[in-house]
């Protein structure tokens, strides 16, 4: 049981990295990776939200959707739950943990539209994970996202100081970098 969980987590953090091999959550991956510290902020906000979201969506799926035979509604129900959850988390943090709110504040609303969150919830359902496995999978996936975004931010900080050809500056070189990172992460396939 524990071994299975470890394999699932390793798999979703590195081998099936959410950004670099499933191509989910690309928007924040490219948008918030200009500086390492903002990337860390975004990454920790994503870890926070995805872990809670996979727990809640797992509950909603088993206790509401399956019960009423409405499994086909999962996408729309999950969007509803995730959007509300992000709102709730934002309010909660603002009240009870202002320092955490200040460091995550800008990134939290952005996560509502992060498809990685929905992606994890749907993967959990597709692979028929139970509650604990879902949470573990969600946590590992978001850690994978954080690893990827921090690495990209580090590379972009260095690229900024290099003589990049005019036509490659900005988004093109970032996409090329992300592509090369995806190739490198492909090497993790040998792990499992």
């Amino acid at each position: 049981m524990f071994k299975d969980l470890l394999f699932i987590m390793l798999g979703s953090a590195l081998v099936n990295n959410v950004v670099l091999s499933q191509f989910l959550g690309l928007c924040p991956f490219l948008g918030v990776s200009k500086k390492t510290d903002t990337a860390i902020g975004m990454g920790s906000a994503v870890i926070f939200v995805i872990t809670i979201a996979s727990a809640i969506t797992s509950l909603v799926y088993t206790y509401i959707l399956v019960r009423f035979n409405l499994e086909f509604l999962n996408t729309i129900a999950f969007i509803l739950v995730i959007a509300a959850l992000v709102q709730f988390v934002e309010m909660f943090l603002k009240k009870f943990s202002p320092p955490l709110y200040n460091s995550l504040g800008v990134y939290l609303p952005l996560i509502t539209t992060n498809c990685a969150v929905l992606g994890v919830a749907l993967t959990n359902v597709q692979k028929e994970y139970d509650f604990i496995t879902s949470v573990a999978n969600g946590f590992a996936t978001s850690v994978g996202f954080t690893i990827a975004i921090i690495i990209l931010a580090g590379i972009r900080e260095r690229i900024d100081e290099k003589a990049v050809p005019e036509s490659f500056r900005g988004t093109p070189i970032t996409l090329a970098t992300a592509g090369l990172m995806a190739l490198a992460f492909f090497g993790f396939k040998g792990l499992l």
């Binding site: 909603v60 509401i64 009423f68 509604l73 509803l80 709102q87 603002k94 009240k95 100081e161 003589a163």
Partner: protein, 267 residues
């Protein structure tokens, strides 16, 4: 068929209602009152979140001002006019602040300074500084002129003229970004109305400076003796003016043998 539609919409509807109720309840329960003062201050602040005040952004500063941890004149961009406006909102007295502007302590442009080599890497001061040789300049503390400070300035106050960076003091808003970014630490704040400024930062000995640049500070200490109010001190081998004492008499500039102390009427 119809039954399915009803159940689907009922379940989603109930789910939506429950979520709405929870959020509504949470909104009341977790309500954090935003100070009216803070909102007003946010409105008058410049709003470009430059971070020159040392806070995370304009709204963070507004909060600090309204709860008293920051002074009404804490925003360097708005200057004393903004300070007055904020003081009106907070009901505190505005302390009149001297307007400061950034100043590049180097006058060694492409005519006056000696070049020793060629640098052909990426055109950013930080990369040029990462390799040896200060971007080809003989003087190792001079302005390389690749304009990293120009790039970070949000107000268009800096420009490269004859190979060195120059601040347009009318446009400078004293946010301090250029000061942080200059790898040679050449930029610092001087008062807007500073009459004399030392345009050199070289810590080398006089003979070495002379071989590298015709307008370098030789460290001769002549100016310190000239100054009637002792406002000039030697910071190592380079003269620095204490503007709290300076009376703008200009005696130092007159005596400076290498003319690196500039009288700021033309600048």
């Amino acid at each position: 068929m119809l039954e399915g539609v009803i159940i689907t919409s009922a379940v989603l509807g109930v789910l939506g209602c429950v979520i709405a109720l929870i959020l509504n309840f949470a909104g009341d329960k977790f309500y954090v009152s935003i100070n009216e003062k803070t909102e007003k201050i946010i409105e008058v602040l410049p709003g470009n979140n430059c971070g020159g005040c040392g806070y995370a952004g304009c709204s963070a500063l507004a909060e600090a001002i309204s709860n008293g941890t920051a002074a009404p004149n804490a925003c360097p961009v708005g200057g004393s006019e903004l300070a007055k406006e904020i003081a009106k909102i907070t009901g505190k007295k505005a302390v009149d602040t001297k307007r400061m502007v950034a100043f590049v302590h180097c006058g060694g442009d492409c005519v006056k300074s000696v070049r020793k080599g060629d640098y052909s890497g990426s055109s950013s001061c930080i990369s040029a500084k990462a390799v040896q040789g200060n971007g080809g300049k003989a003087c190792l503390s001079g302005c390389m002129g690749y304009g990293t400070c120009v790039d970070v300035c949000e107000f268009g106050a800096l420009s490269i003229k004859n190979g060195i960076s120059v601040v347009d003091k009318e446009k400078c808003r004293a946010c301090g970004k250029c000061i942080k970014v200059c790898p040679n630490s050449l930029i610092s704040f001087v008062p807007y109305d500073a009459a004399v400024t030392v345009k050199c930062s070289s810590q080398e000995r006089g003979a070495v400076v002379k071989s590298q640049c015709s307008v370098g500070c030789l460290g001769c200490t002549l100016c310190t003796k000239q100054c009637p109010v002792n406002a000039i001190q030697m910071n190592g081998n380079v003269a620095r003016i204490d503007y709290s004492l300076c009376t703008s008499c200009g005696a130092c500039a007159e005596k400076c043998p290498s003319k690196c102390i500039i009288v700021n009427t033309v600048q």
